[in-house]
Symmetry: C2
Subunit: 360 residues, 2 copies
Amino acid sequence: MAAGIAPVAVDAMGGDSAPGAIVQGAINAVRQGLDVVLVGREDRVREEIRARGAVGLGIPVRHASEVVEMDDHPGRAMRGKRDNSIRVCFEMVRSGEASGMVSAGNSGAVMAGAIFVLGRLSGVERPAIISVLPAVKGRPILIDMGANVECRPVHLVQFALMGEVYARRVTGVARPRIAVLANGEEESKGTELTRRVAAALRRSGLRFDGYCEGRDLMTGEFDVIVTDGFTGNVALKTMEGTARAVGRLLKRALTSTVPSKIGGLLAQNAIREMKRRVDWREVGGAPLVGVDGVAVISHGSSDALAVENAIRRAFDAASARATAEMAEAASRAGGLLEAAERDELELAPAPRRRRASVDG
Amino acid sequence: MAAGIAPVAVDAMGGDSAPGAIVQGAINAVRQGLDVVLVGREDRVREEIRARGAVGLGIPVRHASEVVEMDDHPGRAMRGKRDNSIRVCFEMVRSGEASGMVSAGNSGAVMAGAIFVLGRLSGVERPAIISVLPAVKGRPILIDMGANVECRPVHLVQFALMGEVYARRVTGVARPRIAVLANGEEESKGTELTRRVAAALRRSGLRFDGYCEGRDLMTGEFDVIVTDGFTGNVALKTMEGTARAVGRLLKRALTSTVPSKIGGLLAQNAIREMKRRVDWREVGGAPLVGVDGVAVISHGSSDALAVENAIRRAFDAASARATAEMAEAASRAGGLLEAAERDELELAPAPRRRRASVDG
């Protein structure tokens, strides 16, 4: 039981396998000593608890009469379905009854609910979603993983500054190495957007390593990888797809001949352990930062294991109590960008335009 | 020997392991019946041929006195070093002495050389680089893989139209399925750029499947995946990095215990075959399209196998004689975009702005 921390509110109604998988995940978390409140249609939720023989755990259930469907329009659902489970979770966070919330439901609605009910942190222009990456070593974060598709420099600089606080206070990296995702490591690479962001971060006093590339996402060499939500989403889904394709090819290889079949059987525990390492469910959900409270978005196809890990992640974030520090960090973005622009105007020998097609 | 096709000019001086690995790759290609001319410092190249006991093959060598270094500025090198091996290759292609060229050197210089010496195809705004993807099935292409970092809609529409011709005429897919890489499959996803490109391609009469996601790159479900060079580069390097990380974890798994070690040994042929499937060297180089001639860019760290496969790819592209068809295809882009814009103005009920942060 996390000392002095209110329970995490878990949206029992969101996700492809809700409420069954969500309730099972909450039961597992409670058995691990975590405090949880299940939020959703009380009869349905209590029935799931009963069916799993977990009545004795005494998990509290908070009734919410409405459900946001996956294809509901986020903003309209938040306004129209006033008593939906996502919104009720956020109201519990706002009132302090819950220390954070977890939902595997409509992620746009979770984002909208966070903004409507908790509100943006003072000075933060755009909340962002963090993806914790399944790297060879460490647990690097990618920010933003998809919430903000078209970004201006101030957004990315704020993502970097908030991500640095997250890595330090929640992940526990003493001095996080920050990089901006780009198409090459050299300063001359990138877009107008990434170049302005890099120029600002170079003045931040943080451990900024410049650009990193797609191949650096899983090495663990960088702790905070900053990108817009479009690129972040493409990169993450590419990782997911590649890992799955390699897994499929491996499976095919290990069933192709008799010796390889025997080999596969002998190595199966080790291979299972490897798969666990890159398993998205092990990583837990995706924390939302830049709002005034803790929210973790779990994958729509979350099973009990994914939900349990997302609950753990929400507790980690709540225990860190880093919200005020994030607001303070984010508020530096504007000044850093202005300083970078001023320096550029002073230092630039002459305006120069390079042709992308020749420098590629 | 490819009937009626001039030899491929191979830049012997470009790449991390040049000229040794390049000469070896050319020797392998010649032994497979392909016609090659090596281009570079004649004494160095002949020495490499001699050292490999391949004088008897009679591979022709064309002298070029200068070399573009990896850190040379592409445009300046092309203009300043008039007798560099990349430029000489392109001059041979222009004169018809060579049917195409291959270089593992400074890729910006290859791009610049192609534009300076061969010229853009009439109507093509930006040449692009194709990456042939190591998919579970088929050989899908990603266009652009990194040459054009900041793109306008007309560029991406032209990439799609040229890519379609490539997939049909060179890869041999009867009716290629085309998709635009985005952050979700729904029409409402994407950026202003991808939405305008998708609207134009919907009117193309081609087999356009809308948006695809990062996880679709390796499935083989799409034959032509269209993106800007920034996103393309991030996606490709993410694939590369993920495959490498999974490979490293697999190796670690297969040496962790005695049974898994034995298992790994028994399965090693099958695993090697799987690695071959996702090996970038097997895929060959990256064809450059949109210029008036055939050029294939090979990875800077190319070894003999990669060079041999890039030469094969150059022959495939040269044999297809698809350049005129590509120019014709690309010239449709402007009209398709205009038609899409007209329809949108007529059909739109009212201007609507959606908040990215709420629809994430």
